[in-house]
């Protein structure tokens, strides 16, 4: 292959790899702007991945399948949101619980539904855009659009202003007539739905199969992306691209026969690259950005 087509191929696998981190991070930016943090993103992605492939298997329709990831994500957002917003519960503990639940539920239901242990392939996968260098997912352009729209909504619309107000100063928001609790619940549900979508994208599109390790820390990488994007959806996309290229690059290198023969089991070494990249980026940027003031703190009316 020529150099140009190599770069094209690398870009395509990296862009495809960017999508789940980007979608989950975008949703979380929205939720955290409203004041609710969900460290259960990882678990929501995992159950979304399972439900996406389950719905695809039932309907034989990958569009329905991916959509169902969004729906189940919203359902988990409803649980997490209700606990965080209305029951004034501990958001971190609830998120940990969702992660633990998913860690059990996904391998459990793979066995319960299909009678196989560990992995199940999607009967049909989402269509792809054919390019000269490889197959690009339709979800790459969709993700960019979601990012831009979310930025616009947060910065330029009334809804966005209200969301930011509930995260920065819930008392003032309440005083001007915003229903803080309802808006926070909505933001949590929407954010979690995007994480569920990120999961079903992985199982029905990117990998075309589910394993219990499918998400592999991407939910937490998305959380890191939220922080170093400074809660800006456009920078969130940039952050997810860093992850995408770290992963795409490691996949691309693994195709090199010289490297394969030089290091035994090199795939395991290369699998570490995205995590190292994430650590490097969070270290380089440090804690410079300003956190929404009331993120993680339940609002109790005086």
């Amino acid at each position: 292959m020529s150099d140009l087509s190599q770069i094209g191929f690398l870009s395509i696998i990296s862009l495809n790899a960017m999508v789940p981190v980007a979608l989950a991070a975008l949703g979380e930016i929205f939720a955290e702007k409203a004041g609710v943090v969900n460290i259960g993103l990882e678990g929501v992605m995992l159950v979304g991945a399972w439900f996406g492939i389950y719905a695809t298997w039932l309907t034989f329709n990958p569009f329905v399948g991916i959509g169902m990831g969004f729906v189940l994500g919203a359902f988990f957002g409803l649980i997490h949101g209700y606990i965080s917003v209305y029951l004034k519960g501990d958001q971190i503990i609830s998120g940990v619980g969702i992660n633990l639940f998913a860690l059990g539920f996904v391998p459990f239901s793979i066995v319960a539904v299909w009678g196989v242990a560990g992995a199940f392939s999607s009967p049909v996968t989402f269509p792809l855009i054919l390019t000269p260098w490889g197959q690009l997912s339709y979800w790459v352009p969709i993700t960019f659009v979601v990012g831009v729209v979310l930025w616009y909504v947060l910065q330029k619309t009334r809804l966005g202003l209200n969301v930011r107000a509930t995260g920065e100063n819930p008392e003032a928001a309440d005083a001007v007539g915003i229903n803080v609790e309802r808006l926070r619940l909505f933001a949590t549900v929407f954010g979690s739905a995007l994480a569920g979508l990120a999961g079903s994208y992985m199982s029905v599109d990117l990998n075309g199969a589910i394993t219990k390790e499918i998400v592999a820390g991407r939910g937490f990488i998305a959380l890191a992306t939220v922080v170093f994007s400074g809660w800006n959806p456009l920078l969130g996309i940039v952050g997810a691209l860093v992850f995408g290229f770290a992963q795409g690059g490691s996949i691309w290198i693994s195709f090199n026969p010289a490297i394969r023969s030089a290091i035994p089991n090199v795939d395991f070494v290369l699998s570490m690259v995205p995590y190292i990249a994430t650590l490097v980026v969070v270290t380089a940027l440090g804690a410079r950005s300003r956190v929404p003031k009331y993120v993680g703190i339940p609002y109790k009316r005086e």
Binding site: L87, D90, L103, G104, A112, G217, L279
Partner: protein, 349 residues
């Protein structure tokens, strides 16, 4: 000690919350089973039978509890210092691999086990250090750094296991640790490993450290109010370092227990299957035990029982054993919202 000093209102409300969360776990877990076409009652029967139904089953419960108590302590000591350290998972892998590495040496009984415990603990503590350094120097949130370290630990220990620690005759596992390095069974012949006794002693040790030493006091002071602690002349970074290192030490030992404390295989499977999820479940154990080293012992036995029953459930009720992980997750979600209980009480009024 007078009973009224133990059963304080705060203690009783903590206990109620934990018991209530446990009940929610079983009710919602039962619903999940019912929806998927299983019989919840027979599942719970086999769960109970598999965990406490016979001395042998109970020994499995205690052997499961031993590493969970230690990973829970890792999380708890972090939380006491104001950290959300979820790095136990990776530290268990690293500790287990370090223990297997010690198995390559020939040493006398006693000394061999002691050395492997210390090396495993040190390896676990070392694996937590980057999280401390990133937090102290760059303010990196430990939730992110410890999870990244967990995955780095996962892939590097997979790699190390397959390349260096692997059993030349059986590639599905690393070499097994020799008899000189194994935890002896307790007397009585039920197969209860002394690892549980060791874990309980460590739990009391951490309790003593946190509540009876100046350094433990400083650690808790930083967790309660870092600004006030700094004003009172306490160095917050020193407290954070203690919390990370002592936490990593406990989870590293949990890894050693998984290879030297119970068999077969007295080794790490090269999928890491027998060292996985202890770190994450330790978080649940700690939360149910309200992050108190002594209550954690009981919570650890509870989770150990669930996991012991899981195999029985799979065998006799034909329910995939991961159902217990589902129940554990629901319990933790319920712990997050103690106010559910108040709402329910409110309904009756």
């Amino acid at each position: 000690m007078r009973l009224s000093r133990v059963f304080t209102p705060a203690f009783l409300s903590s206990l109620t919350e934990s018991v209530f969360a446990g009940a929610v776990g079983f009710v919602v877990g039962g619903l999940v089973l019912w929806v998927l076409g299983y019989n919840p009652l027979s599942t719970f029967y086999y769960l109970l039978q598999g965990s406490v139904g016979s001395p042998t089953n109970f020994s499995v419960t205690l052997n499961n509890a031993a590493p969970l108590i230690l990973t829970a302590i890792c999380f708890a000591i972090g939380l006491r210092a104001g950290l959300f350290n979820i790095g136990a998972e990776g530290q268990v892998y690293v500790g287990a691999a370090a223990a297997v590495a010690v198995a390559f040496f020939s040493l006398p009984v006693g000394l061999h086990l002691a050395l492997s415990i210390i090396v495993a603990g040190a390896a676990g503590a070392l694996w937590s250090l980057p999280a401390f350094l990133l937090k102290a120097s760059r303010g990196v949130n430990e939730v992110i750094s410890t999870i990244m370290l967990n995955w780095l630990g996962f892939y590097s220990i997979l790699w190390v296991s397959l390349n260096w620690l692997v059993d030349p005759n059986r590639s599905e596992k690393t070499i097994s640790v020799p008899a000189t390095m194994r935890f002896p069974d307790l007397l009585g012949g039920a197969g209860i490993s002394s690892a549980i006794l060791f874990s309980v002693l460590i739990a009391f040790g951490y309790y003593g450290y946190l509540w009876l030493t100046p350094s433990g006091y400083e650690l808790r002071a930083v967790g309660l109010n870092p600004d006030a602690a700094r004003f009172g002349g306490i160095a917050p970074k020193k407290a954070l370092l203690s919390a990370f290192a002592l936490g990593g030490f406990a989870s590293g030992i949990a890894g050693a227990i998984q290879v030297a404390g119970r068999g077969p295989p007295y080794a790490i499977y090269t999928t890491l299957g027998n060292v996985q999820n202890f770190g994450f479940n330790g978080i649940g154990v700690s939360l149910i035990g309200k992050n108190h080293p002594v209550a954690i012992i009981l919570a650890g036995i509870f989770f150990g029982a669930l996991q012991a029953g899981a195999t029985n459930v799979q065998l006799y009720a034909r329910v995939p054993y991961e159902i217990v992980q589902v129940i554990e997750g629901i319990i933790v979600v319920a712990i997050a919202a103690p106010d559910i209980l108040k709402k329910i009480r409110g309904l009756g009024k």
